[in-house]
């Protein structure tokens, strides 16, 4: 039996990698992947605790999160494709027009 701390450390590391990726990378696709990484880190914590507490509710949530993440990717990639067609770039700094 693997102790729960291992799962927590792993997901914390994954989450941090995701956050840092979002903060430091400029490529929109990579940012997307980092977001997925964060979501999955959370999923991992959920499953780990679900197993630890003998409660299936956490795993149900994970399914929901996966479904939402899939939908989000579908929409997000569609936006990205459109952005690329218009700007010939996936650099996130292109989208800095949303300001005063």
């Amino acid at each position: 039996m693997i102790p729960i701390e291992y799962y927590l450390w792993l997901s914390a590391v994954l989450f941090s990698i995701g956050v840092l990726g979002v903060l430091y990378r400029r490529n929109a696709i990579i940012i997307f992947m980092c977001i997925e990484l964060m979501l999955n880190a959370v999923n991992l914590v959920m499953v780990a605790f679900s197993n630890y507490m003998n409660d299936a509710a956490g795993q149900v949530f994970v399914f929901f999160i996966m479904a939402v993440a899939a939908a989000e990717v579908a929409v997000g990639l569609a936006i990205l494709v459109m952005t690329y067609r218009n700007t010939k770039s996936t650099d996130i700094n292109i989208l800095n027009r949303l300001k005063w």
């Binding site: 956050v19 979002v22 903060l23 430091y24 400029r26 996130i92 700094n93 989208l95 800095n96 027009r97 949303l98 300001k99 005063w100």
Partner: protein, 639 residues
């Protein structure tokens, strides 16, 4: 036979219906229809008033007071006001005058206003005025009277400013309205004081209990009520609006500013005669104000050259004479003079209107003259009215003025002298006006004289009817000394002599004959002087700039308007300006603006956060999450 109470309640409804029908369809209704509706409404009111009057005459004199309650208007704890009408000798006389003279003036307006763009609007206002005047007269409590009082003020405003495209006319309308407001405040305070002291505003509760209230309070009440009368009836010091009110169409001047509305103050004081009789001080005030106004306005009228202005000052002066009668406690004489004055002054105004109409708008008597040949009907009727106002027997004015003078003599010969002087001045300026207008050589422009024409029938017939009334109006109250029986006074006595019976003067017949002889003799002398000056010598008043000395002061109305302007209007303007510059600009504006500046300044700082760099947004977000998590953890640990 229809119940008399139903008849009474319909009297004010006709003009209201007329107003609503014409007023709501003012652009769709034809001129002819609107004038028929308006005249018909007032005629119906008049017929009903006449029936009610006849019924009242058929009753025993101590039962001649009918109260018709229509609806409970305001009913709360401790205060109730009904819409109910009181018909007694006083209000029935007023009803006949208001609807009768009102009807004649409505008919006259058909001809006078015939080519005016606001024809239907004019008739709707006239009907509304009659409605409010009837409310004022018929109301059986102070509140309903006050509604009518304010309503006629409103109609007066609307009709003075009827030709609203002329800026000066609007100013005159505003002046009338504001001056009346001052008086109305006094009236309102008086009514409030009555309610506080009597616990009711119904006449039939207030009057029987009047003697149970302390004299000081009654004096205050009556003086406050009289301030209202000063405003509405144009007495010193609130009279200056009436001459300016001549800006309205001439029928309006005749109806509102001569015959009916301005006499509302006289009616109100007479209605409250029980209260006034109990406070000698207030009566004294009424007497003094009336005397001063009568004399003062008569002197101004001597030198005015606008035909309507002369008549306006004459109205002010005659109203003063009525208040003299009231102040002497001779209420029925005041009402009598009010009735005859309504006849001959309406006739004078309508005659003046006819002259103005014939001369296409000329109002300056220096540009008239010699109109006798061109306007025979107007000339004759105007002559009757002039004789009536001058008090030549047996015209109406003789009887009413004689009664007031006799009462004045019985009270105090000094009062009699002043009143006599005022009425002699009246004779002079009226004959000056009459001679300058109708005698001598025509002085009007040739272009005006070419188009001169006698007025149409609709204008001439009211003139003739009023001329008959001006001639015969006095016969309703022939004094005992002349073989009559003071019928009007007797008819009014249940209302007017219920309080202190001061009304009847006690002069023996010899004294009365002597007084009459003196008055009539002096009147004839004054007419002679006027005849010599304006017919024999053909003197014409000089142009505006050539007057000097005292006559210039009088011509400029003693500069009262200028004095008021200096003493009241300018300080208020100055105060308003200071308020604008200091309070408004420095305090209120600053506070409001600084709120705006605060928002702008802080947003200048805050907007730097929204720099468009998504990385920065996310960084702040993550940082904030970390901070919140840390804080909650620390808080949890601390617990």
């Amino acid at each position: 036979m229809v119940d008399i109470k139903v008849l009474i309640s319909w009297i004010p409804i006709f003009p209201l219906l007329g107003f609503l029908i014409i007023g709501l369809r003012v652009h769709k209704i034809s001129h002819r229809t609107s004038s028929y509706i308006a005249c018909g409404a007032v005629l119906l009111s008049f017929l009903f008033s006449a029936i009610v009057f006849a019924q009242l005459l058929g009753m025993p004199s101590d039962q001649r007071a009918l109260t018709v309650r229509i609806i409970n208007w305001i009913g709360t704890m401790g205060f109730s006001a009904n819409i109910s009408f009181l018909i007694d000798p006083l209000s029935s006389i007023m009803l006949l005058v208001v609807t009768g003279v009102g009807f004649l003036i409505h008919v006259y307006s058909i001809g006078y206003m015939h080519d005016d763009a606001g024809y239907s609007r004019f008739f709707s206002y006239l009907n509304l005025f009659i409605f409010f005047m009837l409310l004022l007269v018929m109301g059986s409590n102070y509140l309903l009277m006050f509604v009518g009082w304010e309503g006629v003020g409103l109609c007066s405003y609307l009709l003075i400013g009827f030709w609203f495209k002329n800026h000066d006319y609007n100013k005159a309308a505003n002046k009338a309205f504001i001056m009346n407001r001052i008086g109305d405040l006094g009236l309102l305070l008086g009514v409030i004081l009555i309610f506080i002291n009597f616990g009711s505003i119904d006449y039939d509760i207030v009057f029987p209990n009047a003697s149970s209230i302390s004299g000081t309070t009654l004096t205050w009440i009556t003086i406050l009520l009289f301030i209202g009368a000063m405003g509405k009836s144009a007495q010193i010091p609130l009279y200056t609006w009436l001459p300016d009110a001549m800006a309205g169409p001439t029928p309006v001047s005749a109806l509102i500013h001569a015959a009916t509305m301005v006499t509302a103050g006289v009616y109100m004081v007479a209605r409250n005669n029980i209260l006034y009789s109990l406070s000698p001080l207030a009566l004294e005030l009424v007497l003094v104000i009336g005397l001063c106004t009568a004399l003062f306005a008569a002197t101004i009228a001597l030198l005015q050259n606008d035909i309507k202005k002369v008549l306006a000052y004459s109205t002010v002066s005659q109203l003063g004479l009525m208040f003299v009668a009231l102040g002497l406690g001779a209420y029925s004489s005041g009402i009598f003079h009010m009735v005859t004055h309504a006849f001959f002054k309406a006739l004078l105004f309508l005659g003046a209107g006819s002259v103005i109409h014939a001369l296409q708008g000329e109002q300056d008597i220096r540009r008239m003259g010699g109109l006798k040949r061109f306007l025979p009907v107007t000339y004759l009727t105007f002559f009757v009215a002039t004789l009536a106002i001058s008090g030549i027997p047996p015209f109406a004015g003789f009887f009413s003025k004689d009664e007031i003078l006799a009462n004045a003599f019985a009270h105090n010969p000094l009062v009699w002298t002043v009143a006599l002087l005022a009425s002699l001045l009246t004779v002079f300026y009226m004959f000056r006006l009459f001679y300058l207008t109708f005698f001598g050589t025509p002085r009007a422009d040739a272009s005006r004289m070419n188009h001169i024409h006698e007025s149409p029938k609709s204008m001439a017939i009211p003139l003739m009817v009023l001329a008959v009334l001006s001639f015969a109006g006095g016969f309703m109250n022939i004094p005992e000394a002349l073989g009559g029986s003071n019928r009007l006074q007797e008819y009014l006595s249940p209302v007017l002599n219920a309080g202190d019976n001061k009304a009847v003067h006690h002069l023996d017949h010899a004294t009365e004959y002597l007084l009459m002889a003196i008055v009539v003799g002096l009147t004839l002398v004054v007419i002679g002087i006027a005849y010599v000056r304006f017919v024999k010598k053909q003197l014409v008043p000089v142009e505006d700039g050539q007057l000097a000395g005292i006559s210039r002061t009088v011509y400029h109305k003693y500069y009262v308007d200028e004095i008021y302007d200096f003493l009241i209007v300018r300080p208020i303007h100055w105060f308003a300006k200071v308020g604008d510059r200091v309070v408004e600009t420095l305090a209120i504006d600053r506070i409001v603006n600084s709120f705006g500046h605060l928002v702008t300044a802080s947003s200048h700082v805050l907007r730097r956060l929204q720099n468009g760099s998504i990385g920065f947004y996310i960084f702040v977000m993550v940082l904030s999450i970390i901070v919140i998590l840390t804080l909650t953890t620390v808080a949890d640990l601390g617990r």
